[in-house]
């Protein structure tokens, strides 16, 4: 199944997502958790700890830094850019903003 979680800031999207991902993993599903927030925090609610979450490099940044080639397959993508979270969940951070980029709307 593919589930998308959305809502206003602070309602608990990330907490619900992280807990849901682990609950599904414990129920026997193979789970990929995708953090699409420009301010990614899903690692914390998955239980990876704040500092490790903050240190995760997003796929886009890795590609921009040219230390990675574009990955042709989804499986390879998750494998190369994912991080291991508890209960066997694989976390992939899509994009993170940490630079000033004037002039771009």
């Amino acid at each position: 199944m593919k589930v998308l979680v959305a809502g206003k800031g602070g309602v608990g999207k990330t907490t619900v997502s992280g807990t849901l991902a682990r609950a599904l993993a414990r129920a026997g599903h193979s789970v990929t958790a995708l953090d699409c927030d420009a301010n990614p925090m899903l690692g914390i609610s998955l239980g990876m700890g704040p500092e490790r979450t903050d240190a995760l490099v997003a796929v886009r940044q890795a590609l921009e830094a040219r230390d990675a080639e574009h990955e042709p397959t989804i499986e390879g993508f998750v494998d190369r850019f994912g991080a291991d979270a508890p209960d066997g969940v694989r976390l992939v951070v899509a994009s993170r903003i940490d630079q000033f980029d004037p002039g771009c709307t």
Binding site: P50, D54, D98, F100
Partner: protein, 252 residues
């Protein structure tokens, strides 16, 4: 009286709009002419100000497309006229300029207003008649708009921080982006504090809060009713703390 130029940023749900809206009205009560800027496409600032949300963003009328299909401000519309014509009135004499709110049809109906908003805020410094205005911008959650230069008017960034890891990490990410602009200063306000340990927590993380806003049931009540905190509970501890924050910012 020196005008203030402040942008408020932080994690979703930290209380940016609540603090911005309450601050804007308190600043106006200090005899300042206040322009409140709302670039969040989700509702928030109008509620905390106690202002009406127009069905359609007034700024739509300020935008047109050029021959190449790119949005621009209509001829004759500059920052002064935009503030005169396309702001809405909020209590205490605050003027509110909004980029617009997401509709059932998504962002498409708003694109003109969003572009007009971005262009107007980039030209505010051209307007001599706005020189004495205090400008207070409420940014949407996270670092995106800070990174994409949605607060060019800001001389000071106020980071709203809850005593939680996600909130503190977000504030740190935003601060790193803000710091690239050398002329800008940054401070933090702790919101939803329940104990002295919460204050210690953000201090240990590296933020010395300019003010501490306590967790306050009056805030929850006001937001459940959809009314401004300042009208619902003017004597509440949260309002008193935001008043202290305003004083601290004015003294800086």
């Amino acid at each position: 009286m020196k005008p203030l130029r402040i942008a408020v940023a932080g994690k979703g749900g930290a209380g940016k709009s609540l603090i911005s809206g309450t601050m804007a009205r308190l600043l106006a009560r200090h005899d300042r002419q206040v322009l409140a800027l709302d670039s969040d496409l989700q509702p928030g600032l109008a509620l905390s100000l106690g202002a009406a949300v127009p069905a359609e963003p007034p700024l739509l009328a300020a935008a047109e497309k050029d021959e190449d299909g790119r949005w621009r401000l209509r001829k004759g519309i500059g920052p002064v006229r935009a503030v005169q014509r396309y702001t809405t009135a909020a209590p205490d004499g605050v003027r509110l300029l909004q980029a617009g709110k997401t509709t059932d049809e998504g962002l498409a109906p708003l694109m003109g207003a969003i572009h007009a908003f971005y262009k107007v805020i980039h030209r505010l410094d051209e307007a001599g008649s706005l020189r004495d205005w205090t400008i207070l911008g409420d940014l949407p959650a996270g670092p995106r708009q800070v990174a994409f230069d949605w607060a060019p008017y800001a001389e000071h960034f106020l980071l709203v921080v809850e005593p939680t890891w996600p909130s503190m990490l977000t504030a740190r990410r935003v601060m790193r982006i803000v710091r690239i602009r050398e002329e800008v200063t940054v401070s933090a306000v702790l919101n939803k504090a329940t104990s002295e340990a919460d204050v210690d927590r953000v201090r240990a993380f590296g933020f010395e809060p300019l003010a501490v806003v306590p967790a306050d049931d009056a805030v929850r009540d006001a937001e459940r009713r959809g009314v401004a905190l300042l009208d619902h509970a003017p004597g509440s501890p949260a309002v008193a703390a935001i008043a202290r924050l305003v004083t601290a910012l004015e003294r800086r």
